[in-house]
Amino acid sequence: MNVFEPRYELMSRAELEQLQLERLQALLARLKRHVRRYREKLAGCQVQSLADLARLPFTTPEEMADSFPYGLFACPMREIIRLHTSVGPEGRPLVIGHTRNDLTQWGRLVARQLVASGVTANDVLQVCFGGGAYGSAGYLFGAQTVEASVIAEDPTHVDYQVAMLQNYRPTVLVTTPAIALDLAQRIEQRRLDPQSLNLRTVLLSRPVDTPTREQIAAGLFARVQCNFGVSEILDPGLCVECEAGSFHIQEDHFLAEVHEGELVLTTLCREALPLLRYHTRVAAETVAGRCACGRTGLRLMPGRRLDGRWWVKDTPVYARQVEAVLSHSRAAGRPFTVTVSDRQLAVAIELSDDLFADTVWVIESLRREIEAEFLGRLGVVVEVRFVNPRVPTDPDVATTTARTAV
């Protein structure tokens, strides 16, 4: 069994609960002292046991977006040495600060996942996020903590990624599900033997379903492990997927609750951006009880997003963002349908008579214009099609509302 910090990962529940209570009380004291928004919300709140957590106020992603950029920080800017960004409700920007200690802790939390996946100092890691998306930083810190060799190049081009797999012979590949599938497909297209690669483990940044997992495992001839994170809290580093395939929340650092089916998290140790009972907008279930791997942290079963966030090629996109882009285009106000897949967003816009033209290039240029607008503003490739207007059955739906098929 591979455990990086047995003291915390295998801690008995009684000890863990004592530690959580201590950390929760210290968190409240810090929040009351250093964050104005919490000082107002927490007036008169006291925690005598972990059960009192249920009486504390929540934090919503909307509040976090409202206090953008630094409203919820508990440290002055000079103590913050790293800013990461994330996307909040309706695509509004969020910023997550880290102090030096936060980064050290992040490295240790990710190291726990890497060690659970069998990574040692003898391994060579390729971290592939197609141009350094949020999250790759965490894996770099983790690998550094484990002292594995990391290839610090993150090409966007799939052929170059395959070449790196062949040249540097990494034993562990850390990547997103989309890139892993691209790689597997490319290797097959080029008639390469995946067994000739030196890969032992593929660590995916997000959970995938079993068929995809098997497809990647077969395509890259390696064991596949997944991770789960919430970018506003910590991604990666929130939980560890053990050998038995369960996600264990790192409960010495995070308190997890499930509130009306939604995962609610409290950060216990964060210095720069401590969050109390943060609504993650992710459906989840938790299971208590001992796991075969010996870890005592709650087992988490993450579900779908509850706020209409789609993942398109590992970029988060909200329906409202699609609407906003279209409303600034020449096709503003036209009904449209969005089809989302893992790889692509397809928007079918119903054409009106005034937009319609006999010449192809007029329509074509409109299409290109809208596609370029999507790429520029959302950072994802969107396929735009024009369709004949439907006969309006329900006047409310037919005018401007997006019809979504996911």
Binding site: A29, R30, C75, T99, N101, T104
Partner: protein, 239 residues
């Protein structure tokens, strides 16, 4: 966990100085309890051994509740306090001072030998009056007196108080040696830098509450701790 404290509240008269503190000490650890003057550290220690009866909360030693027990009972539980300012008996000899520490230990003469073995300086001065010892020697005497009770958990209140920096280092080295022998130590200090060198974990108290808690190494790099207690930031220190 040797010592487990939950929501301890304590105070004097109408004044509450410890506002619901939770902490724990595992076997074989040195845990620091740090903070400025008046943070409530000494009151917390006193309420752990029953010198200051806690108003609320739980104190568990080895999982057994000890709240409300008289102070002498904590000694038989293996929890021994070395009070602030040494509090040795100046008019008794070193030997008598030590024997008092082992009053409830039937093997105190045997223990005396062990303690004198640890502190050769005390052996040399066995017949000298406690009040004539130097500050550092008095601190060693206070430590030795606590060891006479064969404690499992040693509560040290400001052992570095009033000592020259070189003697502080000596006292701390001694504490570290005691830990290596298997003793568990809760170390209360105003001075933050030195305890963080030897402690495994630490709690930082401010106005009766614990603000950060964590591994010593982590607290050394905590900017707020640095600003408030270490007097300078990391960059200034290295400059």
């Amino acid at each position: 966990m040797l010592l487990q404290v939950r929501n301890l509240r304590a105070g004097y008269g109408s004044l509450e100085v410890v506002h619901g503190v939770s902490l724990h000490v595992c076997r074989g650890e040195i845990v620091g309890l740090l903070g400025a003057n008046g943070a409530g550290k000494t009151s917390l220690l006193k309420s752990l051994v029953g010198l200051l009866p806690p108003r609320q909360g739980e104190v568990l030693v080895d999982g057994r509740p000890t709240r409300g027990q008289p102070p002498w009972r904590s000694v038989s539980n293996g929890v021994v306090l070395v009070p602030e300012g040494k509090m040795i008996f100046p008019d008794l000899t070193v030997r008598e001072n030590l024997l008092i520490g082992g009053y409830h230990n039937p093997d105190r003469l045997l223990q005396l030998d062990i303690v004198l073995e640890r502190f050769p300086r005390l052996r040399e001065r066995q017949q000298q009056l406690g009040g004539t010892l130097s500050g550092g020697e008095q601190q060693m005497l206070a430590l030795g007196r606590a060891l006479m009770a064969r404690p499992r958990l040693l509560l040290l209140d400001e052992p570095s108080l009033g000592l020259a920096p070189m003697l502080v280092r000596e006292v701390f080295a001694e504490i570290q040696r005691l830990r290596d022998l298997g003793l568990t130590v809760l170390l209360v200090e105003q001075n933050v830098a030195a305890p963080l060198q030897i402690a495994d974990r630490a709690y930082v108290m401010e106005t009766g509450e614990i603000i950060p808690e964590g591994e010593a190494d982590q607290l050394r790099h905590n900017a707020q701790v640095q600003r408030a207690y270490l007097g300078s930031t990391a960059e200034e220190q290295s400059a």
